[in-house]
């Protein structure tokens, strides 16, 4: 948008208008197609942000307590790495500290998904050709995708600003705008990446990797600086998530930081339009190379591995790096000032019973586990993707039984979840500096809950194939309960809805086998029921 205007400035006006012909219709199409996805994302971000003031108020009821927690958090490098520095000890200031970066992270994921979905996905599926053959300008599809992301981000900004207005209008607006602007930075980043690769899946993966890098840069930068008063390090300033926290919402807002976002969005947008104008529809700057004239793939299992190996490698690398980063943060956890009982309480509720370090590690392990649930859902749902795209049909029309076909993908889903959790555990051990045993054990224990969610995905796919995507909602709810539950003091029955709520708090807590075994049994029943359903039902066409 900004970029479009900037870029067509010197062209005759009519030509610019022609380039954008049909944008309005395409935006409406995009919003119509995303009429469920965008509201759900916005609602989740909103719930995360707006639940904060209440839970902070209930945990730290007096100003003195809040000053105390602000002081301890500000001087603790682990906490700074995880949440960023604390700039003010008001309810609003603590809200921005605790949730700002994560609100931005979610907005970024939402935005990159929207943009890739309406650009590269459309070209890869061949739909774009038909659309572009109509009265649709060359720049209209990209513009429409970015506008759809802008609508989602603007709605987020407005609702966040409105919802937090009682904490201070300026701060609320700054936080809302910063979260939305982070979303737009990654929307335009996705727009660039979508020009580079022919695969929508790869475009999403690569943009997510950039987002992960932005988080790590910010965390590394924040853990290094001593916090209150001093400015952020260079590393933090390299990350859009660092810009977000540096708008200092509710703490003498620094509005000029928003200009960084504007500049970033404009530059990236211009680059995306530049690249898009220099390529043909469906093509990319990283073209796919020719493959072998004959192949060695000979079994359904080998095919499944071939299709999923890229994503397994990506997740493995991500978990190892995240583990090392989180492990590194843990070293500082013991610095935590211990005289605030409430702080201890919340840390302990977040995942542990004894020892702040163990509690911190347990929290990290729990986070890895919940993210691994997203991996297992995406991996199991490859089956659904193969079926609905008609690629499963000829394979199953060959001498391949349905169970054998499914088994290949499920081995990768369930085994892959174990692999990435082990790598995450190794990373934690490396980052923390030794004592791998308890951390690895804790990571493996998470598998019981991860597999339950994977099993539920198998069940949905096998018995209710049209509702298979609901597995994402299940994983999302588990993530949300695990994420905001402890801070929000959700009642135990609600916490118990998530399989993660039944796991022993490890490391540090006591290993209790009963719930783990029960979860494993539930997972096995789900998988068995799903496969039975798959064997009996019609293949969708």
């Amino acid at each position: 948008m900004t970029a479009a205007v900037a870029d067509t400035r010197f062209a005759p006006r009519a030509a610019g208008a022609r380039q954008l012909a049909g944008t309005g219709a395409l935006v409406r199409l995009a919003l119509r197609r995303d009429r469920v996805m965008i509201p759900v994302w916005v609602a989740v971000i909103l719930m995360m942000v707006l639940s904060m003031p209440g839970s902070l108020k209930s945990v730290y009821s007096t100003a003195a307590e809040r000053a105390d927690i602000a002081q301890s958090m500000a001087t603790n490098s682990s906490m700074r790495a995880l949440y960023g520095p604390v700039f003010a000890d008001s309810i609003g200031g603590l809200t921005a500290w605790r949730i700002g970066v994560y609100g931005g992270l979610f907005a970024a994921v939402m935005s990159l998904l929207i943009v890739v979905r309406h650009t590269r996905d459309e070209e890869e599926s061949g739909r774009q050709e038909l659309v572009s053959s109509a009265m649709v300008g060359r720049r209209a599809p990209l513009t429409a995708a970015l506008l759809a992301a802008l609508v989602a981000d603007a709605a987020t900004a407005l609702l966040v600003a409105g919802g937090l207005a009682s904490q201070g209008g300026g701060g609320a607006l700054a936080l809302g705008l910063a979260i939305a602007a982070t979303g737009m930075v990654f929307a335009t980043m996705a727009a660039i990446v979508a020009q580079l690769t022919e695969s929508a899946r790869l475009a999403k993966g690569l943009t997510s990797a950039v987002l992960g890098l932005a988080f790590v840069l910010r965390a590394a930068g924040d853990s290094g600086t001593s916090g209150s008063g001093g400015g952020s390090s260079v590393l933090t300033w390299l990350s859009p998530l660092g810009w977000l926290e540096n708008t200092r919402a509710f703490a003498d807002e620094r509005w000029w930081v928003l200009l960084l976002f504007v500049a970033g969005v404009a530059a990236q947008g211009a680059a995306a339009y530049g690249l898009a104008g220099r390529r043909d529809i469906g093509m990319s700057f990283l073209p796919s190379r020719p493959g072998p004239a004959s192949g060695r793939l000979g079994t359904a299992g080998a095919l499944a591995w071939r299709l999923q190996r890229g994503s397994v490698f990506g997740w493995s690398a991500g978990f190892l790096v995240a583990g090392i980063a989180f492990g590194g943060m843990t070293q500082g956890a013991t610095d935590l000032v211990g005289d605030n009982q409430k702080t201890r309480d919340i840390i302990e509720r977040m995942g542990g019973q004894s020892g702040v370090t163990d509690a911190f590690l347990a929290t990290m392990v729990g986070m890895l586990g919940m993210v691994a649930a997203l991996y297992i859902v995406s991996s199991v749902l490859r089956l659904s993707g193969e079926e609905t795209s008609q690629r499963a049909e000829p394979v199953l029309a060959a001498a391949v039984g349905r169970l054998r076909w499914a088994a290949g993908h499920l081995a990768i889903a369930f085994g892959g979840a174990a692999l990435i959790m082990v790598l995450g555990g190794l990373g934690l051990g490396i980052g923390y500096g030794g004592n791998f045993g308890p951390v690895l054990g804790a990571c493996l224990t998470q598998l019981a809950a991860i597999w339950v969610i994977g099993g539920l995905a198998v069940l949905l796919f096998g018995v209710f194939p049209r509702a298979a995507v609901a597995a994402w909602a299940v994983a999302g709810i588990a993530l949300l309960i695990g994420w905001i539950g402890p801070a929000f003091e959700l009642p135990q029955p609600v916490m118990n809805l998530s399989p993660f709520g039944h796991l022993p708090k490890l490391p540090g807590g006591e290993m209790t086998w009963t719930p783990v075994l029960i979860l494993l049994a539930i997972a096995a029943v789900f998988v068995a029921a799903g496969l039975t359903g798959l064997r009996r039902r019609d293949l969708s066409n």
Partner: protein
């Protein structure tokens, strides 16, 4: 002759939609069987039931003497299938897909594979999306013809192929049936393809079989148009059974007659003395259009519409 496929009284519904409503199909071993019908008649649904991808609601289905649902894997060793719309994996080359399908079936004839790739002018090193519609079809066709199987099930397999490639396709189907004794079930809308390849055909409409037999048998079921110039005024033509659309202008006669009643009409005409005679056997198009028409069972209207379509 043994049957390669038998389907009788097959019913299949999707929710409230009745896809198959008592369909019958018999395919002899070693024949090329044309499977025809308008869009949405249930051809692909029948094929999916035959492949064990869908489960029949009721009715008997046999493929190579086995139950396609229960014995799917064993039967599929002997079956190659080409869908009408082939989708490939983005990151797999055509060659890899051909070899994969070969191995997933009973095996692949390397020499034939090379021969087919050359004849179809296919570049096996391209990947998934890089192939055009026609080339994606070729990938599946090469895999099917090179596979060591007894039955080929082809569901509108040549959509997107150019006429040259269509010819290559027809050669391979003929060779598969005549020289290798394979059974072919060919669903198609391309009438020339059906005419040149199929030993017998079945026409289905709204989930039921409306006609089955060899082409010459089916031709008998439709009408021949006759135009004659006579020596004297015609006599009693209107009373003959099977005569339609009779148009007499002096000594000129135009009429349509059911093909199996042609004999009596000719006798009557020669009775009046024939100066010139033109008789057009029903074209395949007429035959199909008559069956494809919505109320084609009524006959006249369908035939007229068919006439109109053909004379254009």
């Amino acid at each position: 002759m043994t049957k390669a496929m038998t389907v009788s009284e097959l019913h299949k519904s999707f929710g409230r939609t009745r896809a198959l409503d008592g369909l019958d199909l018999d395919v002899e071993a070693g024949e090329v069987h044309g499977f025809l019908g308008p869009n949405g008649a249930g051809k692909s649904t029948t094929i999916r039931v035959l492949l064990g991808l869908l489960r029949a609601d009721s009715g008997a289905v046999q493929l190579l003497g086995g139950d396609p649902w229960a014995d799917a894997v064993a039967l599929h060793r002997k079956v190659a299938y080409v869908p009408g719309d082939v989708t490939l994996w983005r990151n797999l080359s055509g060659g890899e897909v051909i070899d994969l399908y070969g191995r997933l079936r009973g095996g692949l004839d390397k020499a034939r594979r090379a021969d087919l790739i050359e004849r179809f002018e296919l570049d096996p090193t391209k990947k998934g999306r890089a192939y055009s519609k026609g080339n994606r079809q070729k990938v599946a066709l090469v895999a099917a013809f090179a596979s060591d199987v007894d039955v080929l099930i082809l569901d509108e397999p040549t959509s997107g192929l150019d006429p040259l490639m269509e010819e290559v396709f027809q050669e391979y189907v003929k060779e598969a049936a005549r020289e290798r004794g394979r059974t072919v079930l060919l669903s198609s809308h391309i009438l020339s393809e059906v005419e040149s390849l199929c030993d017998r055909i079945s026409i289905i409409r709204k989930g039921r079989t409306v006609e089955t037999g060899s082409l010459s048998e089916l031709r008998h079921l439709t009408r021949t148009s006759v135009t004659a110039e006579l020596a004297s005024a015609p006599n009693g033509l209107a009373q003959l059974p099977g005569v339609h659309d009779l148009d007499i202008q002096g000594l000129r006669v135009k009429l349509q007659v059911d093909s199996d009643k042609l004999d009596a009409v000719l006798r009557s005409l020669t009775g009046s003395g024939v100066r010139s005679l033109a008789s057009t056997p029903p074209t395949l198009e007429e035959l199909f259009l008559r069956h494809y028409q919505d109320d084609g069972a009524g006959g006249t209207e369908g035939a007229r519409a068919a006439e109109g379509a053909v004379s254009r």
